[in-house]
Amino acid sequence: MLLWVGVLIAGGFGAVLRFLVDGAVARRAARSFPFGTLAVNISGAALLGLLGGLALNRHAALLADTAFVGSYTTFSTWMLETQRLSEERQLRSAVANLVASIVLGIAAALLGQWIAGQL
């Protein structure tokens, strides 16, 4: 029971943090390209790589990985913003958003894992 309350709280913090980071980055960039979501997803992938590499126990992993990072990163927003770019005929940006997220995301996850290995 306590664990699920923990998931609730960690998930809530993840969601609020995403909102703050995404908003801050997007506002600063003030461009059509969704830099905010990209920043959130890349940093989330790096964090998840790091946490995965640390081999936490079952409960800690549930709280940190699934609840916190899971609600911090967002697949749905990535898809929605890509679709919005394409409906405004910004196909280059839409494709760049897909490719950059995948390439940088995998690199970030690897980097996180590598850092965890060095600790």
Binding site: F19, D22, G23, A26, R27, A30, R31, S32, P34, G36, T37, T77, L80, E81, R84, L85, S86, E87, E88, R89, Q90, R92, S93
Partner: protein, 362 residues
């Protein structure tokens, strides 16, 4: 009746709450404003949700990003006779903590009495109809657009209201409702002769039409420059500041440098650092230039509806802003300019401007 009226327009963020000193949790500003228009039985008012904007604080709101669209821009326009609107202005200003309040002169046309549109180069005709209202078997907004297109108007766009009043009655959009009478706003630009003919036909076709006419200057159409905005002095004879408004009608389908024109325009104005603000509204149906009236379809990959970018600034900055607009509308779009006789920009305790109307003949 063809009376001199005032149009009160406010621009602000949708999540903004009313300024009060008593309520523990004040309601939303947009709601309170419409409540006020309802109790005063304002002839017509409509609340529109924008897709992008920035104001004096240069904070960008845009529906391109999920986080930045959480507090979208709204604009509420209310039109009624001068005395009624004048009585409302102070209350509207008092309830707003951040935003822009403007007053413009318009004429409300309620029947087919002689309409005096003057000898101006262009006229902006605004028609208000209910969402599900029908004229001659067609949805009213489509019928009106067809009519405007037939009369050769330069452009016409239908904007979806989410709340408003019509003939003094409040109509608010709800999720589980047909929203029959929730107002739509149709903005169109034509010559005085075209407007006269369209008004005659509209008043005959619709039972209780709500129409307003305003004087504008047609600056550009489809890349062709007709005239730059009037170069107005900074103040009138009584030292009341003058303001100007540019309306840039473009299509989602036309782009500049890979971006839709309205997106590029907002970015350029924001980057210019000095522009006071801009608001972009996306229409649901309309036409621009020679294209037939059209909307978006449920299943389509790209948008093609008309959008309008509204820019309000001092005469000096409108002259500079027009150069940016001119560059971005090299091939497409309709650009109009008009005088705004009263603007009040509100940023917390700072109130800049005057709600007393300036008077200037140009």
């Amino acid at each position: 009746m063809n009376e001199p009226c005032l149009k009160l327009t406010t621009y602000f963020g949708e999540r903004q709450r009313v300024v009060t000193d008593h309520a523990r949790r004040p309601g939303f500003l947009a709601d309170a404003m419409l409540d006020l228009f309802d109790t005063r039985e304002v002839a017509t008012s409509v609340m529109l949700r924008g897709i992008a904007s920035f104001g004096l604080r240069h904070v960008l709101r845009t529906d391109e990003s999920l986080s930045l669209s959480e507090d979208p821009p709204v604009t509420i326009a209310a039109v009624d006779v001068e005395s009624k609107i004048s009585d409302l202005v102070d209350e509207v200003v008092a309830m707003t903590s951040h935003g822009l309040v403007t007053l413009e002169r318009a004429r409300l046309v309620r029947s087919d009495d002689m309409l005096d549109v003057g000898i101006n180069d262009a006229v902006k005709l605004t028609v208000y109809v209910g969402r599900q209202e029908r004229i001659g078997g067609l949805p009213a907004y489509r019928a009106v657009c067809d009519l405007l297109y037939r009369h050769g108007f330069s452009g016409g766009s239908v904007f979806l209201g989410v709340d408003g009043t019509a003939h003094g009655e409040r109509y608010r959009a709800r999720f589980f409702s047909r929203n029959v009478n929730v107002p739509l706003m149709i903005i169109s630009i034509g010559t005085p002769a075209q407007v006269l003919a369209a008004v005659t036909e509209l008043t005959a076709a619709a039972p209780k039409p709500l129409l307003t006419v305003e004087r504008v200057r047609l600056c550009k159409r489809s890349g062709q420059l007709f005239a730059r905005p009037h170069r107005l002095p900074d103040t009138d004879d009584r030292q009341r500041p003058l303001w100007q408004k540019l309306m840039v009608h473009t299509s989602e389908a036309t782009s500049h440098g890979g971006l839709p024109v309205h997106r590029a325009l907002v970015h350029r104005l924001l980057d210019s650092g000095m522009a006071r603000g801009a608001t972009v509204l996306r229409s649901i149906w309309g036409f621009n230039g020679d294209h037939k009236p059209h909307g978006d379809k449920l299943f389509q990959l790209t948008r093609r509806v008309p959008v309008v970018t509204i820019i309000i600034d001092t005469p000096e900055w409108i002259a500079r802003t027009f150069e940016i607009v001119h560059e971005l509308t090299a091939e497409h779009g309709v650009v109009t300019s008009e005088m705004v006789p009263a603007v009040m920009s509100i940023a917390g305790p700072d109130h800049v401007g005057d709600t007393r109307l300036a008077r200037h003949d140009y």
